[in-house]
Symmetry: D2
Subunit: 397 residues, 4 copies
């Protein structure tokens, strides 16, 4: 059996006293509440067998795979040794889900959605991370991001910090459209950013309802999702894209993504600045991408209240357990709405993002550091404290 190198993540199943096995949890193996169960995580580069594929699957040789914030939280532990990451997990697993690569083996029913025939060896591809079941009610209704029987690549199924990864063709998307627009190596860098960009696209276009060309938007938080949202909304015709972000390095990345104005919310009055920059309108869309909704929401709400803009939509994409103190009257008087956003699958999102990348939306400057597969563990650790890097990405020859 041929072998490959991969970054494997392990932890001990030691449930906290208040943990109860959920209906979909599997004792000792899988839980929807990671931080309640998994203790003493370890990250190692190991050898595994290259996976065998079934008739609907594709084997991909990885060319690039970026570190996601969730990778960082999985390896981060609290004082009792439990992992930070609170969600769906099944260990041990190979991490990595923001990837691109080259098809090396194809099942005979592994259809390429772009061509309607099976993938070809040599095709450049990427993949969704959410492995939706395709047969529960949300999947049948067209909402795969809310699949009731979700598996997640790099969380419950072996991921792409590896030389090879196996994925069912239904989650795979061709990157062939990028050829011609990018240099060879950059195709794969761009391709590894399709997944996080799709999270932003889902938030602002699918869930936020998009904008009309000429609308203003405000992004709160310059992490990878906020930064990707800047690029998408700039492309969608925003008159003014405003980023609220205290970090200088993140703000600089915002500029590369096309931001028009930056607010430092620690030094400036958010509402006053937004109103000044927007001719007293405010924004049609506010994206909460900071993870601090309790902190930033009052400012958003005051801006909606004081601005002339009607029909503002607040999209909450960053995860947080904090309560948002919402004033109904503001949403009544200003005809506003609030939506939650989750996921990146379905709704034509991946192919739209790829088409945008093929036609001028270059996200590759989000990658601030390139490393080898072997350096991934230490860089996952690095990102627990480093706030300067944006995407650290493993690249492969």
């Amino acid at each position: 059996m041929p072998k490959m190198k991969t970054v494997t993540f392990s932890a001990n199943w030691e449930p906290k006293s208040d943990f109860k096995l959920g209906p979909k949890d599997i004792e000792g193996k899988l839980t929807y509440l990671g931080s309640k169960v998994w203790r003493n995580p370890t990250l190692q580069v190991v050898e595994k067998e290259i996976p065998e594929i079934g008739p609907t699957e594709v084997l991909t040789k990885i060319k690039a795979c970026g570190i996601c914030g969730s990778d960082v939280h999985m390896a981060q532990k609290d004082e009792e040794g439990y992992i930070f990451y609170p969600g769906l997990t099944a260990f041990p697993v190979s991490l990595g889900h923001e990837f691109s690569g080259i098809v090396v083996k194809v099942g005979n029913k592994a259809i390429d959605k772009r061509t309607g025939i099976p993938y070809q060896e040599g095709d450049a591809v990427t993949s969704e991370e959410m492995l939706w079941c395709g047969r529960c009610r949300p999947c049948a209704d067209g909402y795969p991001n809310h699949c009731e029987r979700l598996q997640e690549l790099g969380f419950t199924v072996d991921g792409a910090f590896a030389e090879y990864v196996k994925v069912d063709s239904r989650y795979v998307w061709s990157l062939e459209e990028l050829k011609g627009s990018y240099k060879e190596a950059d195709i794969f860098l761009a391709g590894s950013l399709v997944e996080p960009t799709s999270v932003a696209y889902n938030a602002v276009i699918e869930r936020g309802g998009g904008i009309c060309p000429g609308d203003n938007v405000v992004i709160i938080g310059g992490g990878p999702i906020g930064l990707a949202a800047i690029a998408v909304l700039k492309r969608a015709g925003a008159a003014r894209v405003i980023l609220s972000e205290p970090s200088k390095s993140r703000a600089d990345l915002g500029k590369k993504m096309g931001v028009d104005y930056i607010i430092n919310p620690l030094e400036e009055d958010f509402t006053q600045r937004v109103l000044k920059l927007t001719d007293n309108l405010g924004a049609k869309l506010y994206l909460e991408a900071s993870g601090l909704p309790d902190k930033v929401f009052p400012d958003i709400e005051r801006t909606i209240w004081e601005g002339k803009q009607l029909n503002s939509v607040v999209v909450v994409v960053a995860r947080s357990a904090k309560k948002i103190p919402l004033t109904g009257e503001v949403f009544q008087v200003r005809r506003a709405s609030m939506v939650g956003s989750q996921g990146h699958s379905g709704h034509g999102i991946f192919p739209h993002v790829i088409s945008l990348m093929a036609s001028g939306m270059d996200m590759t400057s989000l990658i601030t550091k390139k490393v080898s597969l072997g350096e991934i563990p230490e860089n996952i650790i690095l990102l627990q404290t480093n706030r300067e890097e944006c995407k650290i990405t493993a690249v492969f020859d």
Copy 2:
């Protein structure tokens, strides 16, 4: 000059110490913050001159006019003597805005939107209460409920607790379509309910996005708006209409409006009941019509979280200054959204409500008591404490 009887409302302009004259307020006359300014209200039946009309106006002889909660709050005073009603007010004014009547005089440019020619004497009509300006940005964009230069009938302009009322034709709507479906007297009872029903219609159809036939809905609060929403949503094809309301008399009115199930939130577990009644789905639309959003929202949110329904919309129509403690994660995982709703104008709402009334949606059982014009002051006072009556309506010969 011919005279008429009318119920006039007066109060003294005695601003509280923390009140500042707003940009659109007029010293001694008009404010956007009624409860900060007006003191020692009085309600009297007086004689006034019958209004003269201009070329675009209609003079209507009133046939029915119902008491609205805002009428009650205007006449209700706190311990210092200030009125309860917090909004736009200009006194003295004749109250009354939920009315119907017969056209007795028509300006030559007072176009009937139903026919495209001027109203005819004898036409049965009703009117919007929101006197939108038609030339500010919200009006020009199609959002008259958010007019920046709003006047309000029965709040800042003489209303319909009177023998006659004058209204610009742009706010007037024909009730001629009701003829044939109702007995003569009932046309006007129905017509006096078009305005509050339109507030409900705006909330659940225009702002809430309506439902697909077969969806479930939950109405929280069985006041006039909640009750009207029941009728509208039942008609819109809800599979199950559930009302959460502790009052027996309100619940009984809910049944008359077509409710399928009633929850007493003081005695039952809201979430468990909703899930049991909906085959564990929950509802597509939740209407907050109780005015207690801080109290009821956690239950709504828990139901969204535990039910299988995706894409739930929470519509907040009742006014309250209370914060709503919203959990972003619930709205993310369940693909939910929250909207505020205000007003009844525009979007074809009045004519749709009239067409519904003409084709079987009978709201007249909401009128629990009929009185004469002279009895209106005492009944406005009565409603400060009485919780049994729903609509008390002045009827005219």
Copy 3:
């Protein structure tokens, strides 16, 4: 091996001279252009083995299965002996796809979308007819009705004019919600109508965008889809549902479905009647369900032109190769639109229809004749000429 009775359909693969094997056609077996290939059809009741099921499949004992127009067209032949039905076909096959039954065997991964766990023996169920692949671009994007690799139950895969049918659980829907609303036998009659009702629901709600309560609608053609659309739109809150249909027996069925007014287009002026019935508005939604778009469209267009209604939508659901002579100017001046509609899958359609049936929308009067499985062939032939019957349905003990 246990056996069962089934109605099998055969024909000879004798392509016409102008037929070319398409990219997805399979020589001698499957074609997208039925009427170009299949000759000398035969219908027989035969014995087959009861199908074995896989882990995601469900075996259902049939309780009711209705004859669809496409069944009739498959068995109908032109003068050269070719079948009428022009679409996707693979013979020999057991016909029948409008069915309901009782689950008798369940794969261990055959998830019930209603409960999230596998189906239970004894469950009442129905199924979609469109066997979408779940992995092509349209399926991934949420449009299973436009699957690029469609199979069809009773057309290319053995259907439900049989004692048992095997279907993958992703297409199966529980009818358990109907229990309590219907008598035992009627559950299955209703259940056999979910599929055609879903075609209508997809047309008027999903594709037509639904209506606002109080809108008027016109249905052109009182076949099963038009009749089902009446029931759905009546439930959706139409002020007036108008059916244009020359046949007395179809018009009578329309009344049972809730139609308000009937137009006989052979004897009355369609436009004048619609305008008279709608207070000169016309309709928000016109459903072309007659199959004669070239004949009826000019009348629809004239009604849109002469009525006051803006934003009318014309939904074309009946199949026809005829050109529709559309006048752009009418659609410009009246802000109108035209959409095509196909299929019944996805978008939550099946469960919404089932919920409607569980809450008062009784379609069973569409079934005008009940027969045994053995009588199906002769009744399929009967329907080639009989215009009085609506649904002829096989019922099983």
Copy 4:
């Protein structure tokens, strides 16, 4: 009384034999069917009095005013001497409606929608051409483009080929936002293009539903509306904007507007080219802006049929009395739709276009020739035959 120069248009009221006075026509003065009535047109530069304004009106000193195709058609006559322009007209009238200028007099109620207070002298402004009434059913419902009592600036009311024009403030829009983005003179050139750009914006964004970033679009016809649509859709995030246009000079203007690919439909196979350019998808949105729908529609339809794109929308914006031969089956199988588009008012269109112009969408290269007011008559005549010029615009010192 102070005087000003203006280009006045006259013609004789000599109705053709088949003309009947319509319900809104005024004998000798106004008709909805211009080409049936008006004969022997003349264009002259004359002196008129500078208009007096009312309390809601604004007097504007014109800085730029472009010639529209409708101006050309008004002055063009058939062999019997009747004008080409078929629509709403009242003569004599000063032509001109694509204008910008400087406010010189303001009524005390002439509110600026941007600031909420009256316009200020010196403000740069433009205006809608459609003088909607604000009180008919379409206006009340939010559809001013379909006003039942429309007047039109430069068609029935004196327009802007004049030194001054008077317009009610409800139709006026501030161009102050353009200051800072344009040189002084270019503000007014840009401002004179807001109206035609708004026609395009209404077509592709409001009526066409906009696009998702990454969609492809095809514009058929490179006249001013098609060219403006290119700029709007490019800005809206189209992956590929394709223009079908045989004229070299128009194609070159298309490139200035941002077109990605040009098809010469006289020399190339439209469908093959579109499919090749779009990776076999086709387009999400097709804009018929050629005025030859009977000619171009079959190609659009074939492209929809052969491409993989679902949910295509065909927007018909150019006026034509020709029938469009639409195949329902194509719209069914491809889930497509067709909409008509008319007008430029409402829906926030003007301010969105102005914000786009203020943030980088520069349309001024559409102006291919600048002339003086006195040269307008000869240039209106010139455009009857010249196909090289796009916008010819009168500029004022």
